[in-house]
């Protein structure tokens, strides 16, 4: 682990240039912007910016994209607290206590708590990455195709077991992603799959365009349906109140540590930030000594989901970097970016791309510190921006999404695909189908299939290779147990089977 500290120092050397700090600030500001605006969130903010990074050096590109991600996480909390409108799905839990606090005129306190605890959660996440990433990567270096397939399977099945959605709907979401990812040329045999002689489908369906449709246009339709009126609490920040709130933060050390632990677990396993923040809020509401006050404006009710949200967001980078498996929708998009820049995500990255990996990890420390400062400093600015009517901002966001969809592959046909997935995303949200599994399946589905088929090539078509040693056998067995988990819960609580509209989230 000591060598990791050395590597980190080296990483700071890479990340600490004027250009990179400028990129971080720009990325964080853009991120706050997409986080604040409904309809633009972290996954599609990163997607929209991705085509512009193709000409950049990979280190600079990843610094820009990760900074945008941190900014989006901060920005999502701002609107949750001031307007009761979560700018990001992962900041829904922040509205439960954040908005009541703002209504009581304690907006400064709520925002300070949110940003500082978010920064804390992110730092814990980065520390975990710093300490564990090389160990995980070294471990993964021993992986062959069967092990990779087992790990992919584990990622998919843990969505079904712990993703929080109805298992059947998670399966549908995953399989839609697999199916969409299969369109185009089959990488193993070279034959055309599911293209039905349509020229535009030969190159496949880009997951980036799907993200823009599902997360961008879909969210916008949901927002417009409610007839959004941004009537929020005042976004005025009182600096003295801010300092007092910071001074009170150590009091909540237990909530912050608990939130970070939940977040790191959910980030490394593909539960993602949204599930993490709900889970952390739920736990805090049950065990906190202030639990009676939850839902009425309790700072701990802001701190718990925020720490978990950000530590999950950062921790999701660990499996992405060291295994090539994304832990959240946004890191799935970044993984796609890595492949487009010509890098091969996975353990070899730590050996071949030392500068890239450690430059990125170092930038995560700096980016989050810059994020906390900029997020606090720009609250009035972005709050004022939301007072511009949605009838102007909404259409502008639509054009941004369309431009983004076109830049992915310079194909006019992609505009239609984005549009179709906008409608699909709206329906899926309405019906509680989880969206993240679809993206994950699209990004790593064909890698999983390749790994499976390569394993079969080496074992002459025998499935026994997935139990050929303790490591791969253990992972495969665990994955299958996760897959069967919903059946276990069904048997244990048969009453729930007839109630698919049961609320999946805590209040």
């Amino acid at each position: 682990m000591l060598s990791n500290i050395d590597s980190l120092m080296h990483g700071f050397g890479v990340a600490l240039s004027g250009y990179h700090i400028m990129l971080m600030m720009g990325g964080v500001l853009l991120g706050i912007l997409v986080g604040v605006l409904p309809g633009l969130g972290a996954p599609n903010g990163v997607t929209l910016l991705l085509p512009l990074t193709f000409g950049m050096d990979p280190v600079s590109a990843i610094i820009l994209l990760t900074s945008l991600y941190w900014g989006a996480l901060f920005g999502g909390s701002t609107t949750s607290i001031l307007f009761n409108i979560p700018g990001e799905p992962s900041s829904v839990a922040t509205t439960f206590d954040g908005y009541p606090l703002a209504r009581q005129g304690r907006a400064t306190e709520a925002l300070t708590c949110a940003f500082v605890s978010a920064g804390f959660g992110a730092l814990v996440g980065v520390v975990v990455i710093t300490l564990l990433s090389t160990a995980v990567a070294n471990f993964a270096l021993r992986f062959g195709p069967p092990e990779y397939f087992a790990v992919y399977l584990l990622a998919f099945s843990s969505f079904i077991a712990f993703g929080g959605g109805a298992p059947l709907k998670t399966i549908i979401s995953l399989c839609l992603g697999f199916g969409l990812g299969m369109v185009g040329i089959d990488t193993v045999s070279g034959s055309m799959r599911l293209t039905f002689d349509i020229d535009q489908l030969v190159s496949g369906i880009s997951f980036l365009v799907v993200v823009i449709g599902l997360f961008g246009l879909g969210e916008l339709l949901l927002t417009i349906e409610d007839g959004p009126e941004f009537k929020g609490a005042s976004g005025r920040i009182d600096p003295r109140e801010m300092l007092r709130a910071v001074a009170r933060m150590p009091r909540y050390w237990l909530a912050m540590l608990r939130g970070s632990a939940v977040g790191i677990w959910m980030g490394i396993t593909p539960g993602g930030p949204t599930a993490a923040s709900f889970m952390s809020y739920g736990i805090a509401r049950r065990v906190s000594k202030n639990r009676a006050n939850f839902g009425k404006g309790e700072p701990e009710g802001v701190i718990a989901p925020e720490t978990a949200d950000h530590s999950a967001g950062t921790a999701a980078m660990l499996p992405m970097l060291s295994l090539g498996i994304p832990g959240s929708a946004t890191s799935a998009v970044m993984l796609g970016g890595l492949m487009i820049w010509g890098l091969n995500p996975g353990p070899m990255l730590f050996i071949e791309q030392h500068d890239f990996v450690w430059g990125m990890i170092a930038s995560m420390y700096l980016g989050n510190v810059i994020g906390v400062v900029l997020a606090l400093a720009t609250v009035p600015l972005f709050a004022a921006m939301l007072s511009v009517s949605f009838s102007i901002i909404g259409p502008i966001i639509v054009t941004v999404c369309m431009v983004g969809a076109y830049t992915v592959a310079s194909s006019p046909f992609d505009l239609w695909i984005a549009l179709v997935f906008g409608a699909v995303g709206y329906a899926m949200k309405k019906l509680d189908y989880p969206l993240a599994p679809l993206i994950l399946a699209m990004v790593i589905g064909d890698k999983a299939e390749d790994a499976f088929r390569q394993s079969m090539l080496s074992s002459d078509g025998s499935l026994g290779i997935f139990w050929s040693n303790w490591l791969v056998g253990g992972i495969t067995t665990l994955a299958i147990l996760f897959l069967l988990w919903p059946l276990v819960t069904l048997l244990r609580r048969p009453a729930q089977t007839t109630d698919p509209d049961a609320v999946t989230h805590e209040p």
Binding site: L52, L168, K169, G179, V188, S191, S389, S391, A427, M456
Partner: protein
């Protein structure tokens, strides 16, 4: 439109997607050869899973139809807002296929802000031109990423 109906419609669409996948897979070899699964093996099975899972979702919806029928997807006003917002986007995408993205987005912004947003003409025109020109500068000039262009840009010598 209640949740019950949307559940059925969406599950039916998923079922159809699954069926298309199964059909597409049968055009390839769906079997398990000497070197393991062939190109159509996984598409075939993913299609089957989609069909089975969507059929189960439909069955679940039918079983709990009483409670699902009570959940409206959206009220009349909400539906109007969604359609009023969504339909112009379809028009813009259709238009963009031959006028290019810049002209289509400028017209889209102009008309939605003027008629749906009920803003004065000068505001709508300002936003439409401002956003299009800013997009042009950022993408074409700064990042050198060309966007879809049509007859107008060619006429102006920008294409």
């Amino acid at each position: 439109m209640t949740r019950y109906h949307l559940e059925l419609v969406f599950a039916a669409l998923v079922f159809l997607m699954g069926a298309i996948g199964v059909y597409g897979a049968t055009l390839l070899d769906t079997g398990w050869g000497a070197d393991g699964p062939q190109a159509g093996f996984f598409p075939f099975r993913v299609g089957l899973i989609l069909m089975a899972a969507s059929a189960l979702v439909m069955a679940q919806a039918v079983v709990s139809r009483v409670s699902l029928r009570r959940i409206p997807i959206t009220d009349h006003e909400g539906m109007k807002r969604v359609l009023g917002f969504g339909l112009p986007i379809i028009v813009m995408v259709a238009l963009a296929q031959w006028t290019g993205l810049y002209v289509a987005m400028a017209l889209y912004l102009l008309f939605t802000i003027r008629f749906r947003g009920k803003r004065p003409w000068h505001v709508a025109l300002g936003v439409a031109l401002g956003v299009s020109i800013a997009t042009f500068l950022v993408f074409e000039t700064w990042f050198q990423v060309p966007l879809l262009k049509g007859p107008l840009e060619i006429m102006l010598g920008l294409g």
